[in-house]
Symmetry: C2
């Protein structure tokens, strides 16, 4: 019963909060994560790995800023591609080593991945996804005035640039990813949600936007015909009434329940809400979806942990 | 008569001498290059594209330097992976658009590519490949003293860091590249010669080195069983007695002739010599090899231009 599992890694899989981003830190985190992923592969699952890139793109954007005047800055789509190369390299090397320790001989490869978005997506009228580091109000206002960028004040911590977060429509490299999967490769792709591109008259071009990484992983899971979408995050289960005395861990959730909870606003926007939304979409499409922590990934795939979404339980 | 052609793009295919590296410049160069490559594909050739990354890695290294203290610097292998993501993205998008204009519907994908090197390669005792920008003697000497780096004075233009340039042994992702080729994809890989890694007891780790991009492309051509290695450079033909009144364009060259010319020192080290060496190796292995300019690529594949290497003419 070999299943194809699209795994969406959480941000902490590579860089934890408060860490500065030294390569050694990142590699140590990736090693912990890839040990678990290698166990999932050892169980006979075909795996596609997707991952975030927030801290890494933040670092690249800051380097662009600090080197201005000496090195031409690259736009966000190109910085995203750089982060895909960097993280793909780290993940493929470490995962390949973890598989070798288990005497598993599989190709592990990373693909630069683009996802088309609709230029008429309403998100383009309402940039809401913060990127990069925090800056002063002065910097934010000058960038807004001079470069037409959108900036917001973020909870007293300073100002951050915001970009649109449109819906992913089609994964440009889906066919190649499926080809590799069919031949037994482990594929790393869709880093940072995929590079958002607009397709006009058959021609692609990058846009300044960020696709939600869980929604991107879901779209990919459909496009490659996966059996399971496994979203890994910091907690073992999706919670109802999170942070209150009544909080409750969800185990099996039907489509109808998930829709109701989303409507009730049970889940944080930009955090758990898109994860549950991604699961909903994948279950509607006909697959199974799970949200859990890295540590419970294997148990969750065996139906013994995590929050599992199904058309009906 | 569909042939598999590994094309090694020259540096000018993406960024010309004197250009600063603005994205628009790079994309304009890539568009010119990809128009020619699309014509090669339109003729029915299966294509693997490899490319240099010197100016791009130079820019990333400089950004690392200028952002030190605020963003942890990444070692050369990780910077190389970043450049593979960046250049892979640009090339795959532009080539895909060029194919679309020709009504050719093929997947175009970029893979992060590693190549193993021997830790006992003599190159590690003699770092000779310059990377990054020119610096002052003061900077060079302090880096040499504090970080144990090797620096050389380069023809009065300043000081540059040098790293070993070992031989490529095995392309780690060769199997996946071949799988994609077999399924009709155009594959972009081996950016910058591939990321050099050492494999010890089945475990890979990156090393600070640069693989010659033409020798890397040759190794790949063997590993994927290509028919032709096509090395593109600034001139239409390899020249004998280059720059002298006796200079002569080579058209058909046998193994024996090429070996003799190399021994005579006819070709510049780090420039034409490794290209001819790569061709020699590929012909010895059993393939055809060509050196020519981008403009003559298609004619050269049809035997009507370029310098063509064969076991015997």
């Amino acid at each position: 019963m070999e299943r194809t599992v699209v795994i969406a890694l959480g941000g902490n899989a590579i860089l934890g909060p408060g860490q500065e981003g030294h390569l050694e830190e990142q590699l140590a985190n990736v090693a912990i994560t890839m040990n678990q992923i290698a166990d999932v592969i050892a169980e006979g699952n075909r795996v596609v790995l997707t991952h975030g890139n927030g801290p890494q793109v933040g670092a690249i954007l800051l380097q662009n800023d600090l080197a201005l005047g000496q090195v031409p800055a690259m736009p966000l789509d190109v910085c995203g591609a750089m982060s895909q190369g960097m993280l793909g390299y780290m993940i493929q090397q470490v995962l390949s080593n973890a598989l070798e320790e288990r005497d598993i001989d599989l190709s592990v490869v990373s693909l630069v991945t683009q996802a088309t978005v609709d230029p008429d997506d309403p998100a383009f009228d309402d940039p809401a996804k913060p990127i990069g580091r925090f800056y002063s109000e002065e910097h934010a206002q000058s960038r807004a005035a001079e470069a037409g960028e959108a900036w917001i004040e973020d909870a007293g911590r300073g100002w951050r640039k915001v970009v649109p977060s449109p819906e992913p429509e089609k994964i440009v490299e889906a066919q190649a990813i499926q080809t590799l999967l069919t031949q037994g490769a482990v594929v790393i792709c869709m880093g940072g949600g995929g590079i958002p591109v607009i397709c006009a008259e058959g021609r692609y071009r990058g846009v300044e936007a960020v696709i939600d990484k869980d929604l991107g992983a879901e779209r990919l899971a459909e496009d490659v015909g996966a059996d399971v979408l496994l979203i890994l995050t910091d907690i073992d289960n999706v919670m109802l009434d999170y942070g209150t005395p009544e909080e409750e861990a969800l185990t099996d959730v039907t489509l109808q329940e998930a829709e109701r909870y989303l409507q009730e606003g049970q889940f944080a926007a930009g955090s758990m809400a898109p994860k549950v939304e991604a699961c909903l979409r994948f279950v509607r499409w006909g697959g199974d979806a799970i949200v859990t922590s890295l540590d419970r990934a294997l148990d969750a795939l065996q139906g013994e942990a995590g929050t599992r979404f199904a058309a009906r339980t």
